[in-house]
Subunit: 330 residues, 2 copies
């Protein structure tokens, strides 16, 4: 097979149709967007997790897997600036699964929904002859005037991220090597992989601020996700390697494991932080709002420019890193 | 695994929450129902098809599998009396899948959506380490006053079905035995399995008529589906074995294959016909409407009574067939 995931999606998108006055946005962003009454839009997203591809039961406790299956979808709604409302869950369960596994998975899944204001309203349970397959659909809402799109980045925007990059990739590597919580400082990295937190509250604050141009969540790594955003916006991006928020515990883990921190930060997927582009004139005001409301920092990592692709500026070097992320198919 | 599918769903349902004023119906019917403006409700459903569980690529052409993956979800919206509007598709694809397979699958999937007025608006594509897994979510709409629920059957209602029963089960058996279209008369049975037609138009006519009490689609076989409907409505059902619509070509196939036609009709799944309950006083008028509008017949097969469970009346015998197949009892 030669098709990348982007290739498959482009192929499906070409097949796909448009033509409903209420459908503001179909395939191509974190969520589809449907016009509803009273100035509101409905946001819809779906994500599937496959055992041995997206998770490994050897180290993923069922309760945290339940939380994560919810989180990766809640994150897509947050990335449009929306509030999650409803959820559907399709579970393919192998013969011989333990009832206690299902109970713990559901406890985690429902707890995550509740924390973020969403309700489970339907689903399907089927037998699997392979491993577990978890398919989730989340429906959210937002004021139409506030939603933030991948296609709205403009040359001159600062590129910002909502937290340290690469932690989930580091945590995955620690789990893969069976190292567990050998060091206290690794606990946070492992949690970033096992139990990511969707940026539900921050997403709404950014959307309400009116200060942001483009936004999406970081699920496949900065290099790939930013390339998607640039492609949808018809712009290019320059990343300043020196600005990437790389945590001390990540550097520590990278040294211990013989890995490259910058590679985790750029290509490691599943951070579920927000990636946003902000007119330079708005950036300080936006940082102040986020500091005041949440006591957190959003960090500039580069700028949107005219052109195509994503370039990493690392000292004197300029490297094209477009789509150098986690891809399921290559 | 000791839990039945009903057991799993009941377990999840116990975990699940309610508590949104807009959510009219959560888990337990063909679709969840959410109040939208202007007297309309949104209907949402999800269904997953797993290779070697729900389909076999040895005999299921990709284009027809695409049509079926759409159809089983469109059928759930039809079963509430709704119109399908939007669709999300999650595909787990094994490494090494053929691009031509994907193209044909998508052509069939999108053709079925188009025929029934729905648009593909989003999805996810992931790698599978097992076989193909196809998860579909369909969102529809209907006037709130018209939706037809599983919970609305009342004692005295006639139980009706919208077409012959067991054809899909017969078609599956013919395919399983590798018999293909040996006889012209089997073609229709095979098509019922490979390419079921959701009752989109009929569902709307029944909903608009105002003459129907309870409704759902026949996906798991009359004995099981009717037991679900009775359970949700707090009633019992009596099926008259002599009234079951069993087609001549099904009897022919059953004889050739050494199978029991009544067993296919009662326990064979995937017919995707509508199962409805109609106040006796309305039944003739409703049949006239369906005959006039579609030139088709809806057929009485029994009646709703007080009590619990589903009983088959077969000559002098009365057999409880709730959630089971006829063949368990003979």
């Amino acid at each position: 097979m030669s098709l990348s995931e982007k290739g498959i999606i482009d192929r499906i998108r070409r097949h796909s149709q448009s033509g409903s006055a209420e459908l503001l946005l179909g395939i191509g962003d974190d969520c589809a967007v449907i016009k509803r009454g009273r100035g509101l839009v409905e946001l819809v997203t779906t994500d599937t997790l496959v055992e041995k591809v997206h998770f490994d039961l050897a180290w993923h406790p069922p309760e945290l897997l339940g939380r994560k299956a919810a989180a990766v979808n809640l994150s897509d709604v947050a990335a449009m600036g929306g509030r999650s409302r409803y959820c559907l869950l399709s579970l393919a369960l192998p013969l011989g699964f333990a009832e206690s596994w299902l109970d713990q998975f559901m406890a985690g899944f429902l707890a995550a929904l509740t924390e973020h204001g969403a309700l489970l309203i339907g689903g399907d349970t089927v037998k699997s002859v392979g491993g577990y397959v978890i398919s989730v659909t989340v429906m959210g809402e937002a004021p139409e005037a506030e939603i933030l799109l991948r296609s709205a980045a403009r040359p001159g925007d600062l590129i910002m991220v909502s937290g340290p990059l690469g932690n989930a990739a580091a945590g995955l590597e620690i789990c893969r090597r069976g190292l567990g919580c050998e060091k206290d400082s690794w606990r946070q990295l492992i949690a970033a992989h096992l139990d990511p937190t969707p940026e539900t509250v921050l997403g709404r604050i950014l959307a309400e601020s009116g200060l942001v141009n483009g936004m999406m969540d970081l699920s496949d790594g900065l290099a790939t996700d930013l390339a998607h955003l640039c492609c949808e916006s018809g712009v290019a991006a320059e990343i300043d390697g020196g600005l990437l928020p790389i945590a001390d515990n990540l550097r520590d883990a990278a040294e211990a494991l013989g890995c490259e921190p910058m590679s985790w930060a750029l290509s490691g997927g599943e951070d579920y932080r927000l990636l946003l582009t902000v007119p330079a004139v708005n950036s300080e005001k936006l940082q102040e709002i986020v500091r005041r409301e949440l006591g957190r920092e959003i960090v500039p990592v580069g700028r949107i420019v005219n052109g195509k692709g994503v370039v990493l500026i690392d000292g004197a070097k300029r490297l094209d890193i477009s789509y150098h992320g986690y891809d399921h198919f290559i």
